[in-house]
Subunit: 145 residues, 2 copies
DNA sequence: ATGGCTGCAAACAGTTTGCATGCCC
DNA sequence: GGGCATGCAAACTGTTTGCAGCCAT
């Protein structure tokens, strides 16, 4: 008979879960690595990746495969969406008033068995908006000068 | 005075646009490379990347990206969504009956200036469903044996 | 004590980039 | 002819993996 793999609670794994749970910033794997390293200086990046994978598999964290290059992780499992700043890459939470659509709205002609969806908004965060304004002002001043 | 860069119509660029326009399969950069290479055997992968970038910038093609996977490109600009097979990576078109939500549904508390959204469904394509069924059947037979 | 997990480092895949040359406008 | 675009190859980034030793159960 096949037996489930027994999973262990290593200090590394616990530390990673802890970092994720107390973070609001949707850290990347290397952000997590940096944070955990303060507690466990010998931890390796490989271990971080392996655990983030594992935790995603068992549904303990959400992996946000955003449009950027690096994947980001979220310890908050409550239903919510994300906005990503095109300029600086920052990711924030977004709460929609209601579920925008159901998965079975997806035209069944495709024949796919739908198991989920990825939704992400793209925009410019407040701080990058300010920077752009300043730059535009400067450019204008130069042309009029 | 700043002048717009004059853009050129090189044979490479035209060939790439052409491949994208006649493809229904949402090719990856290296798919495009392979296809264009039949016409222009000396084209380099770097050129393909540079042009796909450029074409995305000017809005001539859509780039479908998910972190961790290869980006795919779509020459069809009509409003539609995509399903991606978790098993084989294939991407197909999905046509929703109506626009699922408006961008200003996004809670304005975030302060972001929203400029777009990315939506992608995730599932198992028909051919991978069949493969899974076969595997499960085999496993079952083994246990009962 | 057993075998899942770790640290380390090397390997990988996809993509980007520097440079000399080519060719479109 | 000027300068954007190309071909080539090397470099980079994020992620994965093989292996020997470690440690939670």
């Amino acid at each position: 008979m096949s037996r489930l793999k027994t999973r262990r609670n290593t200090r590394q794994r616990e530390a990673i879960v802890d970092v994720l749970r107390h973070s609001r910033s949707h850290p990347t794997a290397s952000d997590v690595y940096g944070a955990v390293k303060e507690r466990l200086p010998k931890i390796s990046l490989g271990t971080v990746y392996r655990n983030l994978d594992f935790l995603t598999d068992i549904g303990r964290v959400r992996k946000l495969e955003t449009s950027g290059t690096e994947a980001r992780f979220d310890g908050n499992l409550d239903a919510h969406e994300h906005v990503r700043c095109v300029t600086c890459g920052k990711v924030d939470d977004v709460f929609l008033p209601e579920e925008p659509f159901r998965e079975n709205d997806v035209d069944s002609a495709s024949g796919y068995r739908i198991i989920g969806r990825r939704l992400e908004f793209v925009g410019v965060c407040p701080s990058c908006q300010r920077k752009t304004e300043v730059e535009e002002k400067e450019t204008k001043e130069q042309t009029t000068r």
